[in-house]
Subunit: 353 residues, 2 copies
């Protein structure tokens, strides 16, 4: 049973804002970190929310649209990279160790038989999606089950300890499905949304735009029917799983650090289903992928980092985690003007920039 | 005796670049973090330089130009904040604890008698500078001694263990002195360099621009004479100390994470003295202070963060430290395509974006 999304705690935000104003620094001088600490108070209802138990949900699946030649890599890289995650050799493993987070790897729909592994959540809904350029990615029932599976992943981690959720993905051709989702929800054309993903050449980019255009046309009826139907028609199994992860996290008032373009497509879908989810989202970074700016704009979120990343896996989210934690420590651990005996202002009233 | 600045290790950079190309990720997908890991290899001569011993040098001094009404805060805030640093209540203390760095607080020229404290490096050159709008900030000898004191701070920390240097500052009115330095080294006018600092109102900003204009005029002969003379004429004691910190760190091939506008002015001065210093500088963030963009452009550095910070103390540098460490861990700890059995490429050759 999907839980409702509670509204953010406006009173906690007000308390956080008031405390920011009396910390020993010029008003506003910690910039976006001040806003972030205030938003986190709103999400969690606490000025000092615990953020130690950080979990990256790296969800993997394959995409039938890979057959259209839309990726620089063959589909077999999806299961190969899942094994790399399980052995700890991928970028997200390295970053999670560095920032103090754990990685949950889930097979939502990889088109291969993966070996049983204690580190792998085997929740395969089906072996890859259908080719969206020719028809629906999956049935509405499959999309619902993928969302439910994503929710269940979060519930399991809540039992182990979960303070903050980071989203991540792996799936060859999943920037194509994500672009189709973004076009469907924003009305933008493939020309301004479809980018090079892992690095296709000019011809690959043309094939990719063409595939997304055909996906939107052939699935037009489903796209008109609603968010779940859109997700089923042009989405992906890992994207649907991330929708579930985001919805479940927000329902428990857990902050969600959203990775790049694929996670952004999932966040867009989740907010289309439950607008209140937006209050729990933190945009980690601005991806180099062409359409990501439109996603951030639609979500109304300003990213914390802009480092020309385009890897996915949750890497951008992991890199943003230290900033999220730092914002909370600043709010709570800095001395106030009164405590420190520092003159709050004297010569003139600082302008609020 | 000033040490020479060794050139960066081009061979180590080439090795780092070659390794980035075989890690399990699309080429270039870690964006600026790839470049950063390559630059760090060049600085240190190692693909896996230690970065555990990180030291923030937060240097404090007062400025005679505060008498011109150029700051939103009275000069007494400088010693008050030094005491706050020593008690661990300032933003830089909180961030240093959070990211794993230690803070070295030095009195380079605070206009107050500070109590003896084991945490304070008492290297006061003089009690505050002269008012640069009326004459030189200090003598050339005083500037030299401040640089030497900054160098000595680094040497002391090298004995305790020092892998990476972070610069920081505290000094009411020091954005005014920094703006004068930036104007002097770039030839830009105060109108495009002088910003609101801690938050002066429109009238304060006009007074500040006027003061910098007068400082440049009255000190024109010294500014024409060289970098050290310029620093003495319109700089500050903490800025001169930071010049020494930067020069000494680079001479030992230690990476320097440069904070915001004031640290940027010091970096500009250091590179005017020793151009090879630039190879050791990492720009932590783009400050909200108006003239900081010009500093970054002149240094040829792209900042890692852009969070509307304008606090100083070394806070931006501390926030960037996790990214610096992460870049090195990614380079060293990720599996290669060969190790992980991941297809490097197959369908097409990825373009280099």
């Amino acid at each position: 049973m999907p839980s409702a999304i509670p509204p953010v705690d406006v009173q906690a935000m007000e308390s956080a804002r008031a405390r920011q104003a009396v910390l020993t620094k010029p008003a506003g001088s910690l910039g976006r970190l001040e806003d972030l600490s205030i938003r986190l108070a709103g999400m969690t209802g606490r000025l000092d929310p615990p953020l130690g138990d950080a979990v990256v949900f790296t969800l993997a699946a394959d995409h039938g649209v890979a057959a259209e030649g839309v990726s620089a890599y063959p589909a077999e890289v999806t299961p190969q990279m899942v094994l790399n995650f399980l052995r700890g050799g991928a970028a997200i493993n390295v970053l999670a160790r560095e920032v103090g987070a754990r990685v949950v790897v889930a097979d939502m729909g990889v088109d291969a038989d993966l070996p049983a592994d204690p580190g792998l959540r085997a929740v395969k809904i089906r072996r890859g999606t259908g080719n969206i350029a020719l028809g629906p990615a999956m049935t509405v029932d499959e999309a619902s089950r993928a969302i439910a599976a994503g929710r269940e992943l979060v519930r399991t981690e809540l039992e182990a300890g979960l303070d903050v959720v980071l989203t991540g993905d792996m799936g060859i051709a999943n920037t194509t499905a994500s672009a189709a989702i973004v076009c469907a929800f924003t009305g933008l054309s493939p020309a301004v949304v479809v980018g090079r993903g892992t690095g296709v050449d000019d011809e690959g980019l043309m094939r990719k735009r063409d595939a997304v255009g055909r996906a939107l046309a052939v699935n037009a009826a489903a796209i008109g029917a609603g968010a779940l139907e859109t997700l089923a028609a042009v989405g992906g199994l890992e994207i649907a799983g991330l929708v579930g992860v985001i919805l479940e996290a927000a329902s428990h008032r857990k902050p969600v650090i959203v990775d790049g373009f694929i996670s952004g497509a999932a966040a867009l879908t989740a907010t289309a289903m439950e607008p209140a989810v937006t209050g729990y989202l933190i945009a980690s970074h601005r991806s180099q992928e062409l359409g990501h700016g439109a996603v951030l704009e639609r979500l109304g979120l300003a990213p914390l980092l802009d480092l020309d990343l385009r890897l996915g896996e949750g890497t951008g989210a992991a890199l943003a985690l230290p900033l999220v934690r730092a914002s909370v420590r600043l709010l709570n651990d800095m001395a106030t003007f009164g405590e420190a005996g520092v003159s709050e202002r004297a010569i003139m009233v600082p302008t609020t920039e």
